[in-house]
C-alpha cells in the first residue's frame, strides 16, 4: 500500500476530551495513557500494509516541544501562529548556549518516537523532525549551525535503530525567502547526514507553493520529497522533479473534510506518471493530518486505500 502518514495525526474525540479531563484533575495519568494507547492501536491498524508506520505522536503538543526535553538551557516560550493557520505553537527559547543532553538521547527517542513503548524497536517507523528553517523560525537564541549539530547527534541515535525513515517537515519554503547562507547550511546538513548515516531521509513541504525554491529543493540529497498538491500545480512543479527520488504526493486534502474522489486521485497519479515512475510515488496528506478531525482523517485514509484496488 503506497500511503504514508507523516506528522502529528489527529487525536480522537475521546482522547481530546480525556486530555482535558486529565488537565482538570478528573482522571489519572494512567487512565489517560490507556485512552491514548487505544488511539495508537486503532491508528496502527489503519496503517496495516503500509511500508512505514507513523506512531501518531498523540502525546505531542506541537512539533518542537519534545526538543525542550533534550536541549539544555532551553525552555518553552510564547505562542506563535503556525504559519498561516489557526494553530499556535510554542517557541523554544534558549538564553545560553544550547547543548544536547547526551546521556538522555536513548530515553528521549524511546519516549517520543515509540508511542510510550507501544512499538518495538525494529518496526518500520516514520521518524518526524522539524527541518532546520521551521525549527529556526520557532526558536529564539539557537542558530542554524547549533540546530544542525543537535540534530546530527540525535539522528545518530535514531540511525542505530533498524528500519526507520526520517521525515523532515518544512513549510517555510514559499512562506518566506530562504537566504543563500541558510540554503548553504541546509545543504551542508543534509549532505552530512547522508555521508554519516544510511537512514532514508525525506523532505515534506506543505502549505505553500514551492515553485521559487524548487531548484534548490530538488537538488538536495533527499531520498524523496513531499509536495502539497493543493498549493502547487502539477505541470509547474513536476517538469523538474528528479527522477531518482521518491515523490510524496500530497493528495489527501487537509483543508477540507470532503472525502477525495478516488477516480480523480487515479487521474492525478496517471498524470504524475508522465514525470516519474509509479514505483516512486507515495500518497500522503497535503499537510499535517491533525488539521482535520480524527474521524475525517481516518475516513480519508480508508478511502485512499481503495485507489489501489
Amino acid at each position: 500500500m503506497k500511503i504514508l502518514l507523516p506528522g502529528i495525526y489527529p487525536r480522537s474525540e475521546k482522547l481530546v476530551a480525556c486530555t482535558r479531563d486529565f488537565e482538570r484533575g478528573r482522571i489519572t495519568l494512567n487512565e489517560l495513557k490507556k485512552i491514548r494507547r487505544d488511539d495508537v492501536e486503532k491508528f496502527y491498524k489503519l496503517q496495516n500494509g503500509f511500508k512505514y508506520i507513523s506512531t501518531g505522536l498523540f502525546e505531542w503538543q506541537d512539533l518542537l516541544r519534545p526538543f525542550i526535553n533534550i536541549v539544555h538551557n532551553s525552555r518553552e516560550g510564547e505562542l506563535l501562529r503556525f504559519f498561516e493557520t489557526n494553530t499556535f505553537c510554542r517557541i523554544i527559547e534558549s538564553k545560553n548556549k544550547p547543548e544536547l543532553m547526551e546521556g538522555k538521547i536513548g530515553d528521549w527517542i524511546e519516549t517520543y518516537f515509540f508511542a510510550e513503548g507501544y512499538f518495538k524497536n525494529d518496526i518500520n517507523l516514520i521518524i518526524p523532525f522539524p527541518f532546520l528553517y521551521l525549527f529556526q523560525d520557532f526558536s529564539r537564541g539557537i542558530s542554524l549551525k547549533e540546530i544542525s549539530k543537535i540534530f546530527i547527534r540525535l539522528i545518530g541515535g535514531i540511525n542505530k535503530l533498524k528500519n526507520k525513515a526520517l521525515f523532515f517537515l518544512e513549510p517555510s519554503f514559499g512562506w518566506r525567502k530562504i537566504k543563500d547562507e541558510e540554503k548553504l547550511e541546509g545543504r551542508k546538513f543534509i549532505e552530512r547526514l547522508k555521508e554519516k548515516f544510511n537512514i532514508p531521509i525525506f523532505l515534506y513541504t506543505f502549505f505553500f507553493s514551492i515553485e521559487e525554491d524548487m531548484d534548490f529543493i530538488f537538488n538536495l540529497p533527499f531520498d524523496g520529497i513531499g509536495i502539497d498538491f493543493y498549493s502547487n500545480t502539477t505541470s509547474k512543479i513536476m517538469g523538474k522533479f528528479p527522477k531518482d527520488k521518491s515523490l510524496l504526493a500530497g493528495v489527501i486534502n487537509v483543508y477540507s473534510t470532503i472525502i477525495e474522489d478516488r477516480e480523480k486521485i487515479r487521474k492525478v497519479i496517471r498524470k504524475l506518471e508522465n514525470y516519474i515512475s509509479i514505483e516512486k510515488i507515495y500518497l500522503i496528506p497535503s499537510g499535517p493530518p491533525e488539521f482535520l478531525p480524527r474521524i475525517t482523517m481516518d475516513q480519508k485514509v480508508e478511502n485512499l486505500k481503495g485507489v489501489f484496488k
Binding site: 489557526n86 494553530t87 499556535f88 493543493y230 498549493s231 492525478v268
Partner: protein, 387 residues
Amino acid sequence: MKLKPFLTHEIGSLSKPSWRVKTIRGIPLEDKDIEEAINWGKLLEIEGKDKLLEILKKRRDFKKYEKEEIVYFSSLYATKLIEKAGIDLVYDGEQHRVEMYEYPIKRIKGFIFKGHVRSFDNKYYRKASFIGKPELKEFYHVKEFERISTFAKKPVKIPITGAYTLVDWSYNEYYLKDISPGENNIRKERKGGKSQFLRKMAREIIYPNLQALYNRGAKFLQIDEPAATTKRDEIPELVNTFKESIGDLKGNVFFSTHICFSKYSLLFPKIERLEGILNEVHFEYANRDTRELGVKEKKRKGYKILEKFKDNKFVVGLGVIDVHTNFIEPPELVRDRILYAIKIIKDPERIFVAPDCGLRTRRWEIAFKKLRNMVEGKIMAEKEIGI
C-alpha cells in the same frame, strides 16, 4: 458621535461563575459555588439575588426555566462587575454564549460541525464545514443586547465575531467542493472560493445581525477578527469584508474592531481604507510590553505599532491589561501606557482604554482587580495631562 477622551471598555469575555457552568453541564453544586453567588451578589449589590439563591439551593436537576434564570443572573452579575469596576461601556462577558465561534455557527444554516482540531497545546476547538448557502436561523445577539440593556446603567457594547474569522476558522466545502489536487491555478481557485464565502457571510450573516442590533438601539458594536492577519495576502479581502458587513450602517453606530495576538503591521496601510467606516481599532499591546514604569520607548516596547496610527483618524483601542497573567497591573503602569500613547497619538480623544482581550481565562477576583486598576490608571493619566 463625540465621545470623551480615554473612554474605558472591556473586550468581550469574562469567565463564567461556577454556579452557572455546573448547572448548565448538569454537575451538582457544592457549598463553595453557592458561597460564590452569595459573596459576589453582596459585593455587586445584585437586586433580586435571593431569587437566584433560592434556585441554586436545589443544587442539582435544574429544570429548563431554572437554567434560563441562572443564565440571566450570570449576565446580570457580570455586567454589574464591569460597572462596579468603573468601566464606561459595559457588557456581560459573553454569559449567554458558548464561545465566539461555536455559538454563532450553530445559529447559521449551511454549517455542520465535523470534530475537534487543535488550537494550541492541548486546547481544541470544534471546527465546522460550510456546505450550503449560509442563512441566519435567528439574529443571534439581539436577545442578549435587549436583556443587558434592561439592567445596565451605562451604554452597552456588543461584540460579534466577524465574517473573516468565521470563514477562516471553517472548512470551505461549498465553493471548493470540486477542487482537484495539482490542477492549474489551484491557489487562485482556493482564494477565489474563499472570497465568495467571505462576501456571502458578510452580506447575509454579519450585516443583518448588526442591522438588527442597530434597529433595537445598539450604539456600540465591536467586530472581533482574531484571524485578521492569518493570511498575509488576504488583507484586501479582510478590508472588503468589513465594508460589506457594515454597509450603510456606517456613521449610525460606533464600530470598533478587536484584533489580537497578530502581526499588526500586515494590516497597514490597507486597513486605512476603513476610515469613516470603522471608528476604533483595538489591538493587544500589554502582552508585548514590559512591566516597568515609564514613558520612554524602551519601557513601552509593546506599543511600537502605535506609530502606524499617527497619520490616520482611527480611535486607538489601547490594550493596557495583559489577560494571560494574574499579575495585577498597578494603576501607575496603566497610566504610563496611556501617557506613552498620548506622546505618539497626541489627541486624547483618539485613545480608548481597554484590556488586551477578553478576560475569560482569569478568575473574577483577578479580572475585577485588573479592571479597577485600569480605571484608576486612566484617572491618573487624565490628571497628569490636565483633563
